[in-house]
Every structure is written in structure tokens, then in C-alpha cells.
Symmetry: C2
Subunit: 328 residues, 2 copies
């Protein structure tokens, strides 16, 4: 009988859950806003209700969880940066108690996205891949030799903290000049505001209040707004996309040399800017990868969209030979 697992994707703005079939097919997905300011049990109850809506009494062969870091791993006590209600919350343990007798596995949300893109998305068929998410933060996951790389503490793939500008902006991690400090949506928007950007002006949003997809607040200084304004020709927004693209290109060049990559997939809100981001990225990357082996690297848009986190969480169970190997 085909197996089906429960996949859970925990983010600061929304929870998602779904049943996922053996080929990575997402069924019965449900999403709910993360209760803002919720304490630990409020958050857990909201998740519990979402899971009940999705799984009901359906027996599942396992549970895969993607969650924002940091966390203890593979134990799965989570302290997501943008969910102050959960600090060392035993998320994996709670779900293991709710689903006894089946494997319950957890990994960083960006790692799950990378696993998904490798398993069923734009990195399929490549044995050596970096999967990136460029959004409110910059995260990633690393697949080498056709296996998900965990690193010593489950934190491999932190491409967002590769240093791209040693004298660059301070990073929330406490360091300086990290890719994330330069290219995360809010950082980029702050930089653009300093340069005189007026959110929504170029695309007429400040007059009509409607330009762009419904989920982009018309005049909010967000990375998505910046991407839309760049598409509408705003000079500062375009410069911001170039700034982000160059920074990503540098980090990808370094990762390619260190890990001998075949493919890099890029998803997340900022990747919606398309060529406005990818063109400067490619230009910088190609200027820095000149050795024969490194030139072969390809950078492609991620292909799974908002389902990626769920598909990757499911892969921890459904394709464990490649995506699950904690040493205990």
C-alpha cells in the first residue's frame, strides 16, 4: 500500500500541514496564520487543530517537520527566531507523542526546502546541490554525493552567513557582511529607503493602492514590494536587486569552489524578481568561477513554490536513504 506521511511546515507567519504521498504528491494541504504573540501552548493548540483538520483519523506512516531555527537536532526542541512563544519547545517530542509508533523527524525549514528541490524540484538528478531561500532571511541546505549534509549539529547549509563583504553591514547573527545582512528582504529595503526609495511609487501603488499581488501591501517597504518596484523600473529598487544579486553571486561562487556543486536552486520572495536578480547574480558569479570544474555550476529558480517546505519535510521520512542520517 502506498505510504503517506504527515508533513508540517512551521513559519513565523503561517503554519502549513498536509498529507504527502510516496512520490511527493501533496494532498489535503491546510494553512493557517501563526497566532501572533502566542505563548507556547497557544501555538501548539493552533498547530494541533491544523493537523486534525488535515489528518483526522487517517493513519500515517510517519511525520516530517520543517521549522525555523535554531533548534536542537535531531531532538527537535525548537526556538524559532521569529516565534518568541517557542523557546526550547519540544516540538518533535510533542508530535512523537501524538503519533506513536512511526518515525517523527525534524529539520530546519530551509534545509527541507533544499531537500524538496533536490527530490522533486529544480535540483532533481543532480548529486551536488545547494538549495537557497532568499526572503526575510537567507537560508539553505546542502546536498553532496546525493545525500543531505547535516554537518556537526544539523546546521549545514547556512549560506546566509557566508561573508560577502567583510566591511559590510552588521548582521543580526552578530557578525558583519554576511550574505543575509546584505540580501535579506528587510535589509535590502532598508538600504533602498536610505537611497531614497519610495515604496510603490514606480508601480503606481501609492496612488491606487492595488498594484502587485494582493499579498504585497502596497506601500510597505518589503523585499517583495522592492521586487515589484524594480520590475516597474524604479531606479533605486533596480539598484537594490543588483546589490542582492551580486551578493548572492559571490556567496554562490564561494560555495561552488568549496563544495564542487552542480546546481544551485534559488527560491523565496526575492527570487520572484526574476532576471532583475538573476542577471547581476550570474554576472558576478561568472566573474568569480573561472576554474574549469567550477564553471559548470548552474543557478536555477526553485520550482516547487510554497509546497517546497512540506515536500521536503515529507522527504525526511519518504526518502530517508538520502535525506535522513543523524548518527544516533
Amino acid at each position: 500500500m502506498p505510504r503517506s506521511v504527515l508533513a508540517v511546515d512551521i513559519g513565523g507567519t503561517k503554519f502549513a500541514a498536509a498529507l504527502v504521498g510516496p512520490e511527493g504528491d501533496v494532498r489535503a494541504a491546510e494553512r493557517a496564520a501563526t497566532p501572533p504573540g502566542g505563548d507556547a501552548e497557544t501555538l501548539w493548540k493552533a498547530l494541533d487543530a491544523l493537523i486534525t483538520a488535515v489528518a483526522g483519523d487517517t493513519p500515517v506512516d510517519g511525520v516530517g517537520i520543517g521549522c525555523g531555527g535554531p533548534m536542537t537536532w535531531p531532538e527537535g526542541a525548537v526556538s524559532p527566531l521569529n516565534m518568541p512563544g517557542w523557546r526550547a519547545f519540544p516540538l518533535r517530542g510533542r508530535l512523537a507523542a501524538r503519533f506513536p509508533g512511526v518515525p517523527v523527524r525534524i529539520h530546519n525549514d530551509a534545509v527541507c526546502v533544499a531537500a524538496a528541490e533536490h527530490w522533486r524540484g529544480a535540483g532533481r538528478g543532480s548529486a551536488n546541490m545547494l538549495g537557497m531561500v532568499v526572503s526575510t532571511g537567507v537560508g539553505g541546505g546542502l546536498i553532496l554525493g546525493d545525500r543531505l549534509i547535516d554537518g556537526g549539529s544539523g546546521n549545514a547549509g547556512h549560506i546566509g552567513h557566508v561573508v560577502v563583504d567583510p566591511d559590510g553591514p552588521a548582521c543580526e547573527c552578530g557578525g558583519r557582511g554576511c550574505l543575509e545582512a546584505v540580501a535579506r528582504g528587510p535589509g535590502l529595503a532598508a538600504w533602498a529607503l536610505e537611497q531614497g526609495w519610495i515604496p510603490g511609487r514606480a508601480s503606481g501603488a501609492s496612488e491606487s493602492g492595488t498594484a502587485g499581488p494582493a499579498y504585497v501591501e502596497a506601500t510597505a517597504a518589503s523585499g517583495r514590494r522592492l521586487a515589484l518596484d524594480a520590475a516597474a523600473g524604479d531606479a533605486v529598487a533596480l539598484a537594490a536587486m543588483e546589490r542582492a544579486g551580486r551578493a548572492v553571486g559571490l556567496a554562490v561562487a564561494s560555495a561552488t569552489h568549496l563544495c564542487d556543486l552542480d546546481v544551485v536552486t534559488i527560491g523565496g520572495g526575492l527570487s520572484q524578481a526574476g532576471r532583475l536578480l538573476f542577471d547581476p547574480l550570474e554576472e558576478t558569479l561568472r566573474a568569480h568561477v573561472r576554474l574549469d570544474f567550477a564553471r559548470r555550476v548552474r543557478v536555477v529558480p526553485a520550482s516547487l513554490g510554497q509546497d517546497a517546505g512540506l515536500v521536503g519535510a515529507a522527504a525526511l521520512v519518504l526518502a530517508a536513504d538520502r535525506y535522513w542520517s543523524p548518527r544516533r
Copy 2:
């Protein structure tokens, strides 16, 4: 019966060969200067004679080879940058023909050093390690999840081409601001000369001609000379060591974040500078690794010295479960 393998280490200045026992014990090592300007067959004959001197008629259970890159891998047609006589020379094939019936395996020389430090040296007991060589070039090898990482073409570990200064000096790879461009011995010496360094002056070598170990030409503008002059208090030489240490620290910070490393081992001529290199390295590294998981990384001097290349080449055969996994 304990196994013994023939290990071969091919460099631009010397060839080395030895029998290596099952615990990585080096026996009967022989070294010979690389014939300067030799054509392909001259180089091969010199190597063949060295192997005969070491192995004679002793049966061996395999052959491990470390050689400067680039090369096709795992086929082992080599084109070492500093040995123009070998271009696509079928080194592994020649040795396989000379030693029929046993495994004959090859890897990049810096990768072999990393494998050696992990197997028998300063990285022993760590599952996630970067082994670096900072010398005429800057190379390395990557061990993750207790396995040597090859990457898509056998080139994983190229830490020397992590970008540490996007607007920095041109690199011989064709890129710009690579760690190697900043920190390789000749690059560092050139920088020091520009700053007014007079090789050997600080240590009295230009008068006596004898300061420093015999293998360091008294007044040559080399990385080793620079290290000695820094130890003798030469201000420019000290600044050069700081420059190198900071660059290495940045690259190690990036690698630590991307690969979630436990340990980094550093060998090669420049590492002889000891604290003059390691202190600025640590200072820069600690300023950039602030996330909890990354702070645990330790940077330690390599411990196997000139035998490392031989021990690592032998490990390709003697500890193949960890150090040999080409997918064919």
C-alpha cells in the same frame, strides 16, 4: 596479514613514495626532487625509479596517489599546474598497469592531506572537518558526516577560491579576491615587497646568510622567509601575517557556516608562523562566527607534517570506507 600499500605524493618540487601500514605508519619513505622542466616520460621515469627504490619486489595491496590538480577524477589523468611536462598524463593508468590486480586510487594532494589529518592527525575523532594547506597555493579537503566529500568532479575542498575580498587582488584562477590570491606565500611576499619588506633583514639573514632553517634561502622573497622575518619582528612581515590570518579567518568563517564544521586543520609553510598567523586568524574568525552552532569550531595546526600527503594517499585504499566513494 597486515596490509601495506604504496603511497605516492607528487608535487612540483618533489616526489615522495613510501610503504604505509594499516595504521597509517609510514615505512621506507623516499623523496626525490622533481626533474625541473622534464617532459612526460622523464617525469614518469623519475617516479618509476623512486617507486622501485621504495617497493622493490614487495607485494602491495594497493596504491594511493596524491597529486597536484587539476586532474580528471577518478580516472586520474593529471595536469599539475606547476608541472608543465604532464598534461592529461594518465598517471593513475600507468600505476594501475605497473601494479595489476590491486586498487590504484588518486586524489588531489590537498585532499589527501585533509584525509590524513582526519584519519591520523589533528582532526582525528571529528566527523566534520576542513583540512587546509596554506603554502605556495591554498588548498584543502572536506570531511562531512565522517566521509571525505568529493563533490561533483572530485574538486570539493577548494577553500583557496572562497572569495574573501570581492575587490581584492586578481587570482591566478582568473577570478578576484580569492583567499589564495591574498594568502598564498608568493602573493603575500609580493604584497610585503610592495610595502617595503627587505627579505632577511630583520633576522640578520642578509648579513650572515644563515638565519633560519637550511631550506629557506636567506634572502628569497618566499612565504617561509616572510614567516621567519615576522618571527624576528619585521613590521611589514608581521603585517603580512596579519593580512593572511585575517583572510584565512574570513574563509574559515564562511566554510563553518556553510558546512557546520567541528574542526579546521591548517598546515603548509605559512602555518609555521604559528601565533603570528593564528592570532589574527582567530580574531577575525571569532568576529564572524557568532551563531551558537558556529562558535564551536576549532582551528588547529595540522600535525602530520611532510608525511601527511603519503598518509592520506594510503587512506584512499586503507580506509576506503571513509575516504573513497566515487560513484562508478
